[in-house]
Structure formats: structure tokens, C-alpha cells
């Protein structure tokens, strides 16, 4: 058996504490599987004495995560601090600067600074792994970058933010409005300190940007993502979708098109009886679609202490076993820049309009759609008592640009009493 692999753990929140706990509980099986002992040399966190249900007295303590990363008795730096930059990024760069391997759960940092950090790691001959950053305990990074390494990836899709899916699931179950369920989620502690990271689609967008890079061999381009949150979804949308056999999910989709890279994180309608449509509450699902493999569905807990800590330690065992792989599945310097797709995105759309209830209004709407080249599949005006007539339209396959043109036409005509809502219907 080789020398022990020595870890420095930066951050002892839920995931960090979970990593310590699993390492302590499963040390025998982990050593047997890894082929060597895996030990914690030192830890770092904001507070040393906070109760965490774990005994850290056997590990050296560093107040500063950068100092932790620089310790000579640390082989692998485990970054569980979080945040796009700051101490997380500083400590990762420090670890790399001294030739240490890095395991992180930090999607924000990698989505924004991933290219630079991957290049640094490569230059220094370090391994940087991040299975826990995407969909918690679901082995999606490994499946995409290793199992499917010989395949040409067609599309990647995923429901990857448990909080958003919890809110949408609860809205459907209770018939309560977004605001009420949002407050429920808040009181349960399901939301990030900045809730927009969750409900605004940012967190899930970070994850998608990482998957896109691996899938298509492109530089991480979080800025190129089309991101829309779930804040505008009404209970009417959920009920209308359900009546038509759909569910609304905050769905990430990445696809390389002739016109550039399509990366969207937005509420979509998906068939209610599809594997994606059936994902409830905080569960995550990712679909990896390859030319040879077809669709591979991976489903499980997308967050939580156990699943996320296990994912971190899966990466650690890989490193203990001597595994080497480029951060995004191929050398960082070989990743290609990509151009966001402008008009290639083709699919049916769901439109919800609130129209003035006067003769000729529907004709105006129909004309605006026709002028934009959008053809109507289904249209229904549902019962109302006010002077505003709610109208749902499902279009045939079209482009987002055409939908936007049609919406401009509708709004310009003065027929619309509120901002029209347009949701993509994703064909699985």
C-alpha cells in the first residue's frame, strides 16, 4: 500500500462536516478501495468551535484557508468555502501554486474563473475535480467526461436546482401562489443567502455552464447563457400546463447548433409523464444525450450533506488511485471559444397573454403571430370575470427570435394588459 493521501479541508459547513464524518466512519472501506489510507491533516473554517457533531481535535487548525492550502502536510486541497472568488479562489490558486491537487464543490468559482484555474492546474500538473459542484451526489461530471468520452454529445439537459423544483412542485400540489411558497421555502432554510442565486436560475446556470464545457469541448461561457428564473411563473401557468399534459421545470439545456452554442436555463414545459416531468421536490435529474449512447438519465439527491460529501470523496478516492484527467475532460488550452447561438433554437412555445376584453383583440394577436411567422397549434381563452381576458397559446415549432418579434407586435398593438409570458416547450 502506498503512502497515505493527506487532505486539507477548507470550509466546515454542511458539506465539509459531512466529508469529515464519512471519512471517519468509512475509513476501512475507503482505504481498501483507494489502495491507501486517506487522512485529514488540517482543517479551516470561520469559527473553530462551532458545534458540528464531528470531532476535529485530531487535525491541525488553520484560520486562513490559504495557509491551509500551502501546508506541506497536505496533498489535496478540499475547497468547500464557496463563493465566486475571495478565500475560495485564493486558496485553490495557492494549492495549485504548490503543486497540490484540488477537489471543490464550487460551481460559481468554476463557472466564472474555471478556464483560468484549469489552465493554472494544467501548467502545474495538478488535478482539479468538482463532481460535487453539479447535481450533488449524482455522478454527472464523471459520466460525461469519462463514461461518454468516446461519444459525440448531442444535448445535455437537467433539473439541477432543488429549491426551484421544490417551489414549482409545491405550487402544483397546493395551488398556492409563487410568493407564498417562496416564503415557505425561505422559512425551511432552502434558499441561498441571496435567493436570486436559486430562483433566478444563477446557481443552476453555473452548473449547466460546466457541463456544456465538458460536453462540447468549449471554454466555460457562463456569460453566454440565456438565464431566466422562475419568479414570473404563476399558478395559472402551472395549471394550464398540467391541463395540457405538461409540467413546468427550471430546465437547463445545452446544445451545439450550426449557429453557435445554445445554453439556456429557463422554466420550460416538459411532458408530465416523462422522467424529467416526474422529478419532484429537491430531486435532481440530468440527461446526457450522445450520438452512440442515446439518452442516459441520472437521478438522485442534488444537494444535502451525505450526497455532496460523498461526491467530494469520490473525487478524492480517484486522486488516491492515481487518476489524472483534465479539468474539463481535455486540455484547457484546447477548449474552443464558442459563440452563443442567435436564432437556431427551434421548438414549440407556450404563451400566456392578458388581453383587453374587446372585439378584434384576438385578431390583433393572431396577426402579430402570423406577421412574425409563428404558427398557432392550440389557443384557449379561459373563463374570467374582469375586463382582462387570459389567453393561452401553444405554437408550432419556431424560434425564440420570432416569438420575441410576435410579443413586440402584441405589446405594440396595445392589446396586452401585462407582460406576456413565453415558455419553451422542451421536446424530450
Amino acid at each position: 500500500m502506498s503512502d497515505p493521501l493527506r487532505l486539507g479541508i477548507a470550509g466546515l459547513g454542511t458539506v465539509g462536516a459531512g466529508v469529515v464524518r464519512i471519512l471517519q466512519e468509512n475509513s476501512t472501506i475507503i482505504s481498501r478501495r483507494a489502495g491507501r489510507d486517506i487522512r485529514i491533516s488540517a482543517v479551516s473554517a470561520r469559527e473553530r468551535t462551532k458545534p458540528r457533531g464531528i470531532d476535529i481535535s485530531g487535525y491541525a487548525w488553520e484560520h486562513d484557508p490559504v495557509a491551509l492550502a500551502l501546508r506541506s502536510d497536505v496533498d489535496v486541497h478540499i475547497e468547500l468555502i464557496g463563493g465566486e472568488a475571495g478565500a475560495a479562489k485564493d486558496s485553490v490558486e495557492a494549492a495549485i501554486s504548490t503543486g497540490k491537487n484540488v477537489v471543490t464543490a464550487n460551481k460559481a468559482m468554476l463557472a466564472v474563473h474555471g478556464q483560468k484555474i484549469a489552465e493554472l492546474a494544467e501548467l502545474a500538473g495538478c488535478v482539479l475535480r468538482f463532481e460535487a459542484a453539479v447535481a450533488g451526489g449524482i455522478p454527472v461530471i464523471k459520466a460525461l467526461s469519462e463514461s461518454m468520452a468516446a461519444d459525440r454529445i448531442i444535448r445535455v439537459m437537467g433539473v439541477m436546482n432543488g429549491t426551484c423544483n421544490y417551489i414549482l412542485t409545491r405550487m402544483e400540489e397546493t395551488g398556492l401562489a409563487y410568493g407564498e411558497i417562496f416564503r415557505e421555502a425561505e422559512s425551511l432554510g432552502y434558499l441561498e443567502a441571496d435567493p436570486n442565486l436559486d430562483v433566478g436560475g444563477i446557481d443552476a446556470g453555473h452548473k449547466l455552464a460546466l457541463l456544456t464545457s465538458i460536453a462540447f469541448g468549449t471554454r466555460v461561457d457562463f456569460a453566454g447563457l440565456e438565464i431566466e428564473g422562475i419568479q414570473k411563473i404563476t399558478i395559472e401557468d402551472i395549471e394550464q400546463a398540467r391541463d395540457m399534459g405538461f409540467r413546468i421545470k427550471l430546465l437547463g439545456v445545452a446544445r451545439m447548433t450550426d449557429d453557435g452554442m445554445e445554453q439556456r436555463m429557463q422554466p420550460c414545459l416538459v411532458p408530465a409523464d416523462s422522467p424529467i416531468g416526474q422529478i419532484k421536490n429537491a430531486t435532481n435529474i440530468v440527461v446526457l444525450e450522445g450520438a452512440a449512447a442515446g439518452q442516459i438519465f441520472l437521478r438522485g439527491a442534488g444537494a444535502g450533506e451525505g450526497p455532496t460529501a460523498m461526491a467530494v470523496l469520490g473525487d478524492v478516492v480517484d486522486i488516491a488511485r492515481g487518476r489524472r484527467i483534465s479539468t474539463f475532460g481535455q486540455p484547457a488550452t484546447s477548449l474552443q471559444p464558442s459563440r452563443p447561438a442567435q436564432s437556431a433554437e427551434v421548438g414549440p412555445y407556450y404563451l400566456r397573454l392578458l388581453l383587453e376584453d374587446r372585439p378584434g383583440v384576438l385578431a390583433t394577436v393572431a396577426s402579430a403571430l402570423g406577421d412574425a411567422g409563428v404558427s398557432i397549434n392550440r389557443m384557449r381563452q379561459y373563463g374570467h370575470e374582469s375586463e382582462a381576458a387570459p389567453v393561452i397559446i401553444v405554437t408550432h415549432r419556431t424560434t425564440r427570435n420570432r416569438i420575441n418579434t410576435a410579443i413586440e407586435g402584441i405589446v405594440g398593438s396595445g392589446a396586452s394588459l401585462s407582460d406576456p409570458v413565453a415558455l419553451r416547450i422542451e421536446e424530450l
Copy 2:
């Protein structure tokens, strides 16, 4: 970039031809991801000139797969011949004897001779990978042995034989009897040359035995599996199960109990709306349940040229990247022998009886169940015109031993007109 990795491909059936095709089509992305070129040096098959839709003129030809495995211009031996022993095993052992790494899709060989082959490989310092042997394109071997390497596995479950699931799905959809759908599957070429490998549960049992070894660190014990095929499933079973909210699946379950290793491959009732219950036709699903990870569901194509060939090449890319892992996730010599569990298996059961239609018969059955300590949850006798009364019983949680005792009692009483059918209801 390192030297090219040179392959010898033994077997050019569906999967072998697929491997050649994907390597030819995706050579650029594969090289970029693997960090080196992957080339085929030589191939071997029964017939050289059979039309396969691929050009093999650029590769050396070996009639004998053992000669192929011994070639000095081959670094990795790809065994796609199949079969428990014979040329497949001979060629794998020959490859190992000359220090070559091996990738195989051969579940039968590994389920029966896996321990010995893994020990040979270890002694010779060779890597032996077999992702394609279990559930085709679904990365279950990798998820279990790598992603979950730090977790304590609780249970492994899976629907892993597409032909059986196709037959059961079609029976439910058409209302036709097993025999008719069996012949349909046969005419579509879905069955192995020896159909019992499929419908008898052997093929799926081979796969389960491999997963069990990785999950629990035990020696592969295919002989210790409790195997039951789907041949006795009637359309009545399927309809009765459906009426109670279940579907019947050929389900593999492995779990370590206080009483030994529980390994079953048998038709089970599962909730119709569960991810396992919803798997249709040839799709496979595997559930990996860890103490930390919770349940991870992996779903996809369990067979077919593209998915299986991609899985083979995923292993090849791993080897090209310098990856080393023990065959069953830990050194073969450290795998523990396991004892099959005798009575620990606890769960509810579904019983179908065909009883004499005379007074007192139901009382006899109820007594036999009570005497065996089996308690009844639901019981229904359904309409019939003959003198035989069909009765369905769903029990509370009990053991297989008690069910067997009850069945002996029922049969012994003379009340039963045909062999009782007992199916486990698997709680997800």
C-alpha cells in the same frame, strides 16, 4: 501527447463493429479527450469477409483470438467474443499473461471466472474493465466503483435484461399471454441463442453478481444467487398487479444482511409509478443506494450497438488516460467470501393460487398461512366460470422461508389445483 494506444479487437459482432465504427468516426474528439491517439492494430472474428458496414482493411487480421491477444503491437485486448469460457477466456488470459490491459463486455465469463481472472490481472499488473458487461451504455460499474467509492452501499437494484422487460411490457400492453409475446420477441431477434439466458434470468443474474461484488467487497458468487425467470408470469398476474398499483419487473436486488448476502434475480412487483415501475421495453435501470448518497437512479439503453460500444470505449479512454483500478474496486485478494442469506429477506409477497371451489377451502388456505406465521394484508377471489377459483393474496412483510412453508401447507392440504405463484413485492 503520449504514444498511441493500440487495440486488438476480438469479435466483430454488433458491439465489435460498433467499436470500430465509433473509433473511426470520433477519432479526433477521442484523441483530444484521451490525451493520445487510440488505434486499432488488429482484429479477429469467425469470418473475415462478412459484411459489417465497416472497413477493416487497415487492420491486421488474426483468425485466432489468442494469437491476437499475444501480438506485440497490441496494448489493450478488447474481448467481445462472449461466452463463459472458450476463446473469450483463453484470449483474456493470454492477454494478461503478456501484461496487456483488457476491456470486455463478457458478463458470463466474469460472473463465473471473475475472481480468478481478476487475481491473474492483479498479479500481472494489468487493468481489467467491463463497463459494457452490465446495463450496456449506463455507467453503472463506474458509478458504483468510483463515484461511490467512499460510501457504504446499502442495496443495489436493477432491471437489467431488456428482453424480459420487453416481454413483460408487451404482455401488459396487449393482454396477450407470455407464450405469444415470447414468440414475438423471438421473431424480432431479441432472444439469445439459448433463450433461457434471457427469460430464465441468467443473463441479468450474471450482471447482478458483478455489481454485488463491487458493492460489498465480496467475491463474485453467481452460484449463490436466487434466480427465477419470467416464464411463469401470466397475464392474470400482470393484470392483478396493475389493479393494485404495481408492475411486474424482472428485478435484481443485492443487499448485505446480518444473515449473509441476499442476491435475488426474480420477477417482483414494484409500484407502477416508481422509476423502476415506469421502465418500458428494452430500457434498463439501476438503483445504487448508499448510506450517504441515498438512491441514485441510472437509466438508459441496456444493449444495442451504440450504447454498448460506447461503454467499451469509455473503458479504453480510461486506460489511455492512465487510469488504474482493481477489477472489482479493491484488490481481488481482499474480496471476502460471502454466505448466501437464508432467511433474512423480509418483505411483502404476492401469492396467486388456483383453488378448488368448495366450502372451507379459503379457511384451509388462511390456516396454512397463519400456521406459517404469514399475515394477510389483502385477499381477493376473482370471477371465474370453471371449478377452479383464482385467489390473489398480498401478505404483510414476512420471509421467503415462511412463504415457502405456507405454500407447502396449502399444497399439502390438497386445496390447490396448480402450483402456487409467489412474487416478492419490492419496497423502493
